[in-house]
């Protein structure tokens, strides 16, 4: 589904990614780990098309098409979605208006039937209940005055409503208490059940106790230094990134 070959990316003319190779098949869950500044988020932003990140070499093939020249909205129409580590606040933009506008645009771009407002509200209502978000939040501005946990739940709400095919979760578990993690994990599992392919960027094993990855990759200096299966995560908790890379790399 996703094949990244020898990807080099620069930001402000500084090389950040230095030859990333990654293959993700449909329905798989991949965990992307590594120290701060190793290039995890930059890789995520490059996949979804953030203009700050310039691809200097290599390709990103998604569903057998090199997407590096496509605009972020065109990539979203093809089913790519990313949740933000620090979701932005948009005062004055109501959650219902934001989600409805985004969903309508995606349905049009995907050549799907645009649902009625009632259909949209019924799905929003049931999904908000599933994620244990108070329904009255729907009337509030996006992330305005929301707690850390609520913002992350709202990211998952968007993911479920906007129906992506491949989702990149950038530190969805950072700053959450154990109860909020369980609710967020429940949302991710729902996406997985719907066949959504998942790349999860995390520093912690705890979220991976709920969502079991097929593969784990550890990034270092803008490259994937080590790839392995789930047991790599438990080894990581016992030793350091450096030792693992030395042993497996």
């Amino acid at each position: 589904m996703l094949k990244i070959s020898n990807l080099h990316v620069a930001a402000n003319k500084t090389p950040i990614l230095k030859g990333v190779n990654l293959i993700v098949h449909q329905g798989e869950v991949h965990a992307l780990m590594g120290q701060n500044g190793s290039g995890k988020s930059s890789l995520a932003y490059s996949i979804v098309g953030h203009p700050f990140y310039k691809i200097t070499k290599g390709s990103i093939n998604y569903q057998n098409e090199n997407i590096i020249k496509l605009a972020p909205n065109e990539r979203a129409a093809k089913g790519l979605f990313m949740t933000f580590q620090n979701p932005p606040t948009l005062p004055g933009v109501k959650i219902t208006s934001y989600l409805r506008t985004a969903k309508n645009a995606l349905q049009k771009a995907r050549g799907e039937k645009v649902e009625t407002y009632s259909e949209f509200l019924r799905e929003l209502r049931s999904t908000m209940k599933f994620l244990e978000l108070p329904l009255k939040f729907a009337n509030r501005s996006l992330n305005d005055g929301f707690s850390g946990g609520e913002k992350k739940k709202l990211e998952i709400l968007q993911a479920i409503i906007l129906k992506p095919k491949l989702i990149i979760l950038d530190e969805i578990d950072s700053g959450l208490d154990i109860y909020a993690i369980k609710v967020v994990a429940k949302g991710i599992l729902k996406l997985q059940q719907k066949g959504v392919t998942i790349i999860i960027i995390t520093h912690y094993q705890r979220i991976l106790n709920f969502i079991s990855p097929n593969f784990v990759h550890i990034m270092k200096d803008g490259k994937i230094a080590v790839s392995g299966e789930k047991d790599l995560v438990s080894k990581l908790e016992l030793s350091s990134f450096k030792d693992i890379i030395k042993t497996h790399g």
Partner: protein, 86 residues
């Protein structure tokens, strides 16, 4: 336990409460709305009056005003439809 009639009265009251919150906004434009009926499938039927009757953007008020407020606040309601003869 509430019987069916009591449940229905309770449900109507909930919808009426939401309409009461919205009414000042409609009245400020010289319009009004009332709950006509709630069907067996829990569809709330509403009727516009005053300047809302025949208004070309009454459907916007219906969707983004009434539907949104009623569906998000009264979970039993499945839909809101406009039965006004515009």
């Amino acid at each position: 336990m509430m019987n069916d009639l009591e449940k229905r009265i309770e449900l109507e009251k909930k919808v009426e409460n939401v309409l009461a919150e919205l009414r000042p906004a409609l009245e400020s434009h010289g319009g009004d709305v009332k709950l006509v009926d709630i069907t067996k499938d829990n569809v709330a039927q509403v009727e516009f009056s005053g300047s809302c009757k025949g208004c070309p953007i009454a459907n916007v008020t219906l969707d983004e005003g009434l539907k949104e407020a009623i569906l998000m606040q009264v979970e039993e309601i499945s839909d809101v439809v406009d039965v006004t003869k515009h």
